[in-house]
Symmetry: C2
Subunit: 333 residues, 2 copies
């Protein structure tokens, strides 16, 4: 049932304009007068013309799409990473598509690793099954990583970052320092908890046998952690807490404030991520800044290099983090 | 070059387990022991087995994917809408893929409207060209809408919502009420500005000839609006401002506070959206709450109905909004 595809010249002829004008209507409609736009759009509809992007991809045996697998799109942490990824992929001629692995079934997710669906994957979810991701399209991992998956990782040193939070709180005189981890088994939760414990031990401070694991990294999980902390013995509970995400720290602060306590007078709080709004909450949150846009950009560049067939040594790429001191932490009184 | 595809029974035989166990390793690996998981994953790798999701889609002549076209993924406003969309599509057997239209070129975006790429589209960006989206796969529009595109719309009444903000500020005694719009030409910016002007006129209050348009809906755009407001004559500048997004309101508050002013004593501020963290900023933001998850869910349900071939009357579906009064607004003193 092959039939000739309408060409851009067919559209131009019917609309009575140049092919350059048709091209402009498609790619930059704001630069064309409303009348011309309407005429060209009618001609596009009449001819059934469509862009030859898919045809070009077919010639090059590629889909033109890169899929990013993100654990939870409702976590604002991922927005800037995705912007960083797009800022590299799009100029290189790739579409970036994002899938929320949290809401999709594993069967569906593995479809993305099919060469007919995507040219490459950027994995931001460490809970995906390694077997389904191996040996199909090129994969790069960013932030999180799948244990056992042989694919380059672009990440931060999570344990060292968690140790920065402990050092800051210990320097303020806190001796009972707690940690609210993300979900149990998550690679980030475990690495940050491990870094916290090691830093506490190195300073001779008491450290919890196991982390106060949260259900997820959300505001709601922080509220629940606050309820546990509020119910604990005031003589022995932590006077300072580090959190594995800003959203949890923020939920914790909101809940303890609702009970009439004051941060940092009654408890010091350190977050993790430095999401955009966190400087505006009350009190502005002390946190660990991750270079999110750079994490995205470097992961995308590494994937492009693999797609060009360049050799990747496969080693971890570790990006630096920074402690940002704001007003949610104070000396122990 | 046809060759027999490995089956799930091949994997089960090699791993020495039942097909049910293989299935569990794929769909719910947490329920399987680590040893079994490793054995099955090795067998999957050995056979090259892959799930028959794509084959099933091929039989049904569908891709199994729905693409959501979002103007700016770094705006946290979209996260909950996308969660709402996924909560409907995924149980129905569809993948949800998200594309950031802000970063991609128009040529690439129109590819998504090809039946070979997606079974349907949810359009959340009113700046896309109608011609490229028409007459291919089923389309539903959510929140924003493309003028001239004949596709069902699930949205709020933006003008009425903006009027709620004006009514609240006027009831507090403010007479000089300003409005910071989103980007010029954006359907939401224009509708909210129009609603603001109409509400001011109806109350006999002075209203601006044209909106104070921002570059986008971002925190940074709010900061820039604050700089314009700070530079204006204190005797005539607004004593209260409504904003077309929470992020802009938040950027505005941060900037005026940095200049030593106090919100709401020196200026009352109303946002728009009710994004999650906004209750935690200082002062907590008075805003217009959009039913974001419901907007996403209803758009997805409407798209599914179209995919099932059900008739859609094509009328706009308008969801209710709510004024949430917090501490960023106060009576005029």
């Amino acid at each position: 049932m092959k039939q000739d595809r309408p060409k851009i010249s067919d559209v131009a002829r019917i609309a009575g304009v140049s092919t350059a004008t048709v091209s402009r209507v498609i790619s930059n409609p704001g630069m064309v007068s409303e009348d011309t736009r309407a005429t060209v759009q009618a001609a596009i509809a009449e001819t059934g013309y469509r862009l030859n992007h898919a045809a070009r991809n077919l010639r090059h045996q590629r889909t033109g799409g890169i899929v990013a697998l993100v654990p939870n799109l409702s976590n604002p942490f991922f927005a800037q990473i995705l912007s960083g990824i797009a800022s590299v992929l799009v100029p290189a001629g790739y579409n970036l598509l994002v899938a929320d692995t949290h809401s999709a079934g594993a069967e569906m997710l593995l479809d993305y690793a099919e060469p007919s669906r995507a040219d490459g994957l950027i994995v931001l979810d460490g809970a995906l099954p390694a077997a389904g991701l191996s040996g199909r399209v090129p994969v790069v991992q960013a932030c999180e990583w799948v244990p056992g998956l042989l694919a380059p990782r672009v990440k931060i040193d999570n344990a060292a970052a968690a140790a920065l939070a402990v050092a800051h709180l210990a320097d303020l005189g806190h001796r009972r320092i707690g940690h609210v981890a993300g979900p149990r088994g998550n690679v980030l939760s475990e690495a940050r908890f491990k870094g916290t414990v090691e830093a506490l031990r190195a300073r001779g401070l008491p450290c919890p046998d196991q982390a106060d694991y949260a259900a997820d990294f959300s505001l709601e999980a922080g509220r629940a952690a606050a309820d546990r902390w509020l119910a604990a013995d005031t003589a022995t509970r932590p006077t300072a807490l580090s959190f594995a995400s800003d959203a949890m720290a923020c939920g914790f602060i909101g809940e303890v404030q609702r009970h009439g306590l004051v941060v940092p007078r009654d408890v010091s709080v350190v977050g993790f991520d430095d999401i955009e709004l966190i400087a505006h909450i009350s009190p502005p949150l002390t946190t660990i800044r991750q270079p999110r846009a750079a994490l995205g950009r470097l992961a995308a560049e590494r994937l492009l290099a693999r797609l060009r067939g360049e050799n990747d040594p496969g080693d971890d790429m570790l990006l630096p983090v920074e402690l940002v001191i704001r007003a949610s932490t104070a000396p122990l009184v």
